[in-house]
């Protein structure tokens, strides 16, 4: 047998296995889908298995009395995981084998696409497709594009939400970055640095909703003369001051909520900036000191310029998080008392009032505002060599 013929048969065999693999995968997914969709799938699997191995008694027991719900759920989880992990593995294996069939040069050109392909398809399906759908709704639903634009940019309630968003961005971002920077600088000289950092960092581990619930109690208000169960008004009462309805007084409520966000985000700013400060070369600092620079001067002229990139990254990251703020407002005031923000308004329009066009237009507007910030953020990350 010549080598060429041998190569061809091997190739043919590989092709068959690869195709068979793909078909098998398809079957597995179809089977798995039916299994997960069907009522009492796990029961069926177990009864079938028991019957196969001859344990009729066991099979009957499950058939008549059903299955322990926990066991059933576990089994569904296992099947889903097998399909998920095993399936992805299988897809890569089989498609890779398929690519092998092509001549070397084509294969080399094709392979990256095969590996990136599934991710691109997923992203397209879960990100691009909904984004396009949102755009179409914004242009067509609820009286059309003109009406929706008018709503987003002239409706008094929405304008107040935009105003609040600006307040959030300015005060929230500046607050988080400045306090984070101050902490990072000061903590750099403290003996128990790690411990001090942990305390500032801890809130970051709390979910937005959790934080909002906690702070709602901090701000809780009861009429004067009643027992104050809110922390702040409790303190006010102890000092003999009138209780303040923090969450109901416009502007004060938005500022109070921004404090929650700062409390959450300062830890993140501190950690990143602290790392950046430590990366400032000691020689540079020593040189500045030898030249007679005071501490504030060293900080302003040497440290700050060195960590400019990190500050920008932190600021843009926090800014994006703040632009999307929803949970804190939803849980505490629900947007009442002029404390609404765009994301909450969007949610209300969609879920409560079923105005999909208006909600979509708000989403599009928010997206357009976020994009430039994202661009700055990504560019800056690239400049620093983080990410690719």
């Amino acid at each position: 047998m010549s080598r060429a013929v041998e190569g061809r048969t091997r190739r043919a065999r590989d092709l068959t296995t690869a195709l068979a693999g793909l078909v098998a995968l398809g079957l597995a997914f179809a089977g798995g889908y039916l299994f997960l969709k069907a009522d009492a799938g796990p029961e069926r699997l177990m009864t079938w298995l028991y019957r196969r191995i001859g344990l009729e008694g066991q099979a009957d027991a499950i058939a008549s009395r059903g299955f322990d719900p926990l066991a059933a759920k576990l089994m569904v989880a296992v099947v889903a995981m097998l399909l998920g992990v095993g399936g992805i593995w299988g897809v890569y294996l089989a498609t890779n084998r398929l690519v092998d069939q092509f001549p070397d040069r084509t294969a080399r050109a094709l392979r990256p696409w095969v590996f990136v392909g599934p991710a691109v398809v997923m992203l397209g399906f879960y990100l691009v497709f909904p984004a396009v759908g949102t755009l179409v709704r914004a242009l067509k639903d609820d009286g059309g594009v003109i009406e929706n634009l008018k709503f987003v940019f002239t409706e008094p309630d929405v304008l107040s939400a935009w105003r609040n968003n600006v307040l959030w961005i300015v005060v929230g971002t500046a607050g988080s970055v400045l306090i984070g920077l101050a902490f990072a600088t000061l903590v750099d000289r403290v003996k128990r640095e790690a411990l001090a950092k942990t305390f500032v960092f801890l809130p970051l581990a709390i979910s937005m909703v959790g934080a909002a619930v906690i702070w709602r109690f901090v701000y809780y208000w009861r009429p004067a003369g009643e027992e104050q169960i809110g922390l702040l008004n409790g303190v006010f009462a102890a000092l003999g001051r009138e209780p303040t309805p923090f969450l109901q007084t416009p502007v004060l409520n938005t500022l109070s909520l921004i404090v929650v966000m700062i409390w959450l985000q300062t830890g993140f700013a501190m950690v990143v900036l602290s790392a950046a400060i430590k990366a400032v070369p000691t020689e540079l600092l020593e040189a500045a000191r030898i030249d007679g620079a005071s501490e504030p001067q060293t900080f302003m002229r040497v440290v700050l310029p060195s960590i400019r990139g990190a500050v920008l990254t932190v600021a843009t990251t926090i800014l994006i998080a703040i632009l999307k703020v929803f949970d804190i407002v939803f849980v505490t005031t629900g947007g009442r008392f002029d404390s609404d923000v765009i994301a909450n308004r969007m949610f209300q329009e969609m879920i409560r009032f079923r105005n999909f066009g208006r909600a979509s237009m708000l989403a599009v507007a928010l997206l357009l505002v976020v994009v430039p910030v994202m661009v700055i953020n990504v560019r800056n990350l690239r400049k620093q060599g983080i990410g690719a």
């Binding site: 019957r51 058939a63 009032f353």
Partner: protein
């Protein structure tokens, strides 16, 4: 060949799983698809009868008007699950559970009831996400209509004994659950909103009389202020994403007392403007109470800031009532501080008429159940909720009026049910909560939001607030 093993495993797995899902094996639980596909009346659990020792001999169970309920009581759906979602929490949830318990005990159906806050948002999200409960409580006919128009609800026509339903319920309760000629809901709970709670003993010892007219009500309020006895009124309306409904109740109740019922109906159906002079007049009268100096405990900040369930708490202060009158439906005692008792610590009087021309109207509300998934056990549960039997548990717990007229009157012999029945009997007109019947964008949207703004502005700019709500009425 070694590199092939994963593929072999995948193939084997596919065969096993496929075999299990194709439905050839015998199990008790038929896939939901097959049970719903068969038409009403011939559903039998497929293939189960041979393997299970179902007590098919006990067939002689009394038959009632509802087919699926009878079959459920015969044990046919034992072991199945039904999920119910409602906005009742705490004591109300316990009371509803008490109403459900006899059904659970009699049928073996596992009814999972969950009461949650931020109810409408959660329900909406779950329905949109394809994760609707089997049955859900709905307080607003407007919400039922929008759910029905989107095709989310199960139509009762065809399988539900609607003759029995119209026999047990007055026509308007059936009408409120009807959308485009089809019935989608069953009313379970009624609410009487035109009542005012007051502290019985303190009232007597202060020498206050129960007011029978609006003027007497205002005079009494002034007297309480003049006596230095605190605030005459407990008013507050903070209630998460449904905040604002207390104000709409007040305005509706006053409107019914200052305008003919036809005006009220025209207002609900938007045949007159939302900011019609009659409505502005009613709002003005409400404002006379809400925004008068010293009238409301805690002022407007408390109206917007205190949770509805806590509104009346200051009335039970150890040092004597800090506020004396609270207009709220009969369920409010569930939220009073521990150790207080309805009828003893606080009782209620009828919210007095204003204009004698319009008699003694009563404003009410109610909760219906709608169905999202058509399975026999869900049908049985809904049928149960339409019976007088289902109301028993909650009636015994108190503060419950069933819209079901077949409920024997002697069940209501205890307080406060007897007093409520008396007010109902004396009513010259009965109207359903207007905001609940308006389109959701107004009734649960701009109307509530407008009321919050109105209170925050201390009752200022009434005309602007109502004009803004008028502008928000959906075009169609």
């Amino acid at each position: 060949m070694r590199r092939l093993t994963p593929l072999v495993l995948v193939v084997a797995f596919a065969v096993v799983v496929g075999a299990c899902a194709d439905g050839s094996s015998t199990t008790t639980r038929a896939p939901s698809d097959t049970t719903t596909a068969t038409t009403a009346g011939e559903t039998t659990t497929s293939g189960a009868t041979e393997t299970t020792a179902a007590p098919t001999t006990t067939e002689a169970v009394a038959t009632g008007p509802y087919e699926f309920l009878d079959r459920a009581k015969a044990g046919e759906f034992a072991g199945t699950e039904v999920e119910i979602l409602a906005q009742w929490i705490d004591a109300e949830a316990a009371n509803f559970q008490a109403s459900l318990q006899p059904f659970i005990d009699a049928t073996g159906i596992d009814v999972n009831f969950e009461g949650i806050t931020d109810y409408e948002t959660v329900l909406r999200t779950r329905v949109d996400g394809g994760n609707a409960p089997d049955l859900a409580q709905i307080a607003q006919p407007g919400l039922m209509q929008s759910l029905a128009s989107e095709g989310n609800l199960v139509d009762l026509s065809g399988w539900f004994n609607l003759d029995q339903l119209s026999q047990d319920y007055i026509a308007s309760f059936v009408d409120l659950a009807t959308y485009e000629g089809s019935v989608y809901g069953v009313y379970f709970k009624g609410d009487l909103k035109s009542i005012v709670w007051y502290p019985v003993e303190a009232f007597a010892s202060a020498g206050y009389q129960i007011p029978n007219t609006w003027d007497e009500l205002i005079a009494l309020s002034d007297q309480i202020v003049a006596d230095g006895n605190g605030s005459p009124w407990c008013v507050s309306m903070e209630h998460g994403d449904v905040s604002g409904w207390v104000a709409t109740d007040w305005i509706e109740d006053v409107l019914l007392r200052t305008a003919p019922p036809e005006t009220y109906d025209a207002w609900v159906n938007h045949e007159i403007a939302f900011d019609d002079p009659a409505v502005l007049n009613a709002a003005g009268l409400v404002g006379e109470v809400w925004f008068a100096d010293g009238y409301v405990f805690g002022g407007t900040d408390a109206i917007n800031g205190t949770w509805v369930g806590d509104t009346q708490t200051p009335m039970f202060d150890a040092a004597g009532p800090k506020c004396w009158m609270h207009k709220q439906a009969a369920w409010i005692p569930e939220f009073w501080p521990e150790g207080t008792q309805a009828g003893v610590d606080s009782s209620f009087f009828y919210f007095p008429p204003i204009d004698a021309d319009y008699g003694s109207p009563v404003l009410g509300g109610g909760d219906m159940f709608v169905m999202f998934d058509d399975r026999p056990e869900v049908r049985a549960t809904l049928e149960y909720l339409a019976t007088a039997e289902a109301a028993k548990g909650w009636i015994d717990a108190g503060g419950f009026v069933s819209p079901n007229q077949s409920v024997p009157l002697d069940w209501y012999s205890t307080y406060p049910n007897d007093a409520l029945a008396e007010i109902l009997a004396g009513a010259s007109t009965f109207r359903f909560d207007a905001s609940d019947t308006m389109p959701a964008a107004v009734g649960q949207g701009s109307f509530w939001a407008g009321m919050i703004d109105w209170v925050a502005a201390n009752g200022g700019g009434t005309e602007e607030v109502f004009a803004e709500i008028e502008a928000s009425w959906p075009a169609s």
